[in-house]
Amino acid sequence: MSTTRRTQWLLAIIVFVALAFLPVIDQPYWLTIGISILMYGVLATSWALFSGPTHYISLATAAFYGLGAYVVGMGIESVWYPFLLVIATALGALLALVVGWATLRLSGVYFVIFTLGLAEFIRQIITWVQNNFTGSRGVYVLTSIEDKHIFWELLVLAAVVCLFGVWLKQSRLGFALRVIGGDEVVASHVGIHSAKAKVLLFSFSGAVAALTGAILAPRLSYIEPSMVFSADLSFQVVIMALLGGVHRLWGPIVGVIPFTFLWEFIAAVAPTQTVLLLGVAFLVIVYFIPQGIAGLIEKWFLKGGRHE
């Protein structure tokens, strides 16, 4: 048991170090793909840490991501970049805290609708502010930060999210979330503060999404509300996480990798049909592989071998 555990850690460290050398080989295509995979990987994994055990489907990823990107867009001229990352993370957590506290007491459906509306709401506010006070709709993000720096930042963030996931799995908080996912009435009858547990995790995923937006902002060069608050992003994250499987920490990344390649392909051959194909992909996943690829892998390779 402890030797397999050690092997897993060793493998994770090797993968991490190997990936860190990706920018060095100087292949722009692979660096671009690498950034996409890490970005979606981080977003989908942190999304699944909250939504996997609790079954609360959040469509707010774009709200946090856009918030983070805008913090950088607004502040890049006057504030030191690393400090902007801290501000974006803190604001993401704070927004999730407020929204979570107000909505997580509601039952599932209301939560889904509210989170979907949140990104649109923030987008409208920023558009309104910019139309009325700043004169221009978008902001330019001009920095000396290159793609390889963004890749490394995302890689570190991915490692942090994974370490948090590993910790969560064997923590009381993680156990509380599983009980909440099982039955919320039971949870409250065995001493679990379910609102607190849910808000904590929701804040974590909100902070991570905001930080991801802040890290990627320099890559966009020009930020506009309709770009960074796009609902497509929220749906993509949900679809990728479900495709991979949300009941395992490594599940979402298994969904992100094929989906990113598929997405590149779709964007190249049918750039106007992306939303339609996104919807079809969603239906196919929910209908044919509800447990995700992780579930399929476990079913095929570990058949019958895991009865304790």
């Binding site: 009381r172 599983r178 001493g191």
Partner: protein
């Protein structure tokens, strides 16, 4: 420590126009088994939900160990020492039976975690007759076994007051005898029990005192044998002869 564990005082619960519990008062003495009985729809389960904070009272007060609990959320009432099972079993999907039982102790007033919590859960499973079944897939458990898991979950925190909502119903004859013995042994250890039950034989066997509800009201209370022969109670169960 006073002699009374639970005091329900003039409690009313309305759901819109429906009065599910109507000005109900009764007390539960320490270390006994009290039967809460009555026909379907008489408000017994609602009363249980009010005690554990699953519902909030419309008016009236509930005291546990001489402290007001009717304003508290379920979580805090549990932390004071009130545990329950549910009339409709609530299995926790995605958790093993051992983990389901563990859920009852991890966040309790005497919390355990890790190996100790697992051991306590296994001991409790053995006590309810599921020895060695802690890792079995949830789907392999029968309805009765799920009820056992739920009792173990309620019991593992060593509650002062245990509320059993029709826990014995659905058991076959042998299981019923085992179940009655089990509840008796829990009571013998000093846990106070409120038993909501339709099985009159079990109520007669286990409960020194009983409270009978009908259409939201208490119609009789006191010594079980006397209560069960009360004319109004017989009417409530068999129908008023004048109505027929």
């Amino acid at each position: 420590m006073s002699d009374v564990v639970l005091e329900v005082s003039h409690v009313t619960k309305r759901f819109g126009g429906l009065v599910a519990v109507d000005d109900v008062s009764f007390t539960v003495k320490r270390a006994g088994v009290l039967g809460l009985i009555g026909p379907n729809g008489s408000g017994k389960t609602t009363m249980m939900n009010l005690i554990t904070g699953a519902h909030q009272v419309t008016s009236g007060d509930i005291y546990f160990d001489d402290r007001l609990i009717s304003e508290l959320p379920s979580r805090k009432i549990f932390l004071r020492g009130v545990s329950r099972t549910f009339q409709l079993v609530k299995p926790l999907a995605g958790l093993t039976p051992a983990e389901s039982v563990m859920a009852g102790i991890v966040f309790s007033r005497k919390p355990l975690w890790g190996r100790e919590a697992v051991k306590a859960a296994e001991r409790m499973l053995a006590r309810v007759g599921l020895e060695g079944r802690g890792g079995a897939p949830l789907s392999s458990l029968t309805y009765i076994d799920q009820k056992r898991v739920e009792l173990a979950r309620a019991l593992i925190s060593d509650p002062t007051l245990l509320l059993l909502d029709e826990w014995l119903s659905g058991l076959n004859a042998t299981e019923l005898l085992e179940g009655i013995e089990l509840i008796r042994s829990i009571a013998a250890e000093g846990t106070t029990i409120v038993l909501v039950e339709h099985l009159m034989d079990a109520v007669r066997e286990l409960c020194q005192t009983s409270v009978v509800m009908n259409v939201g009201k208490v119609i009789a209370a006191g010594d079980t044998a006397a209560v069960l022969s009360h004319p109004e109670v017989i009417n409530a169960y068999l129908g008023d002869t004048n109505d027929a």
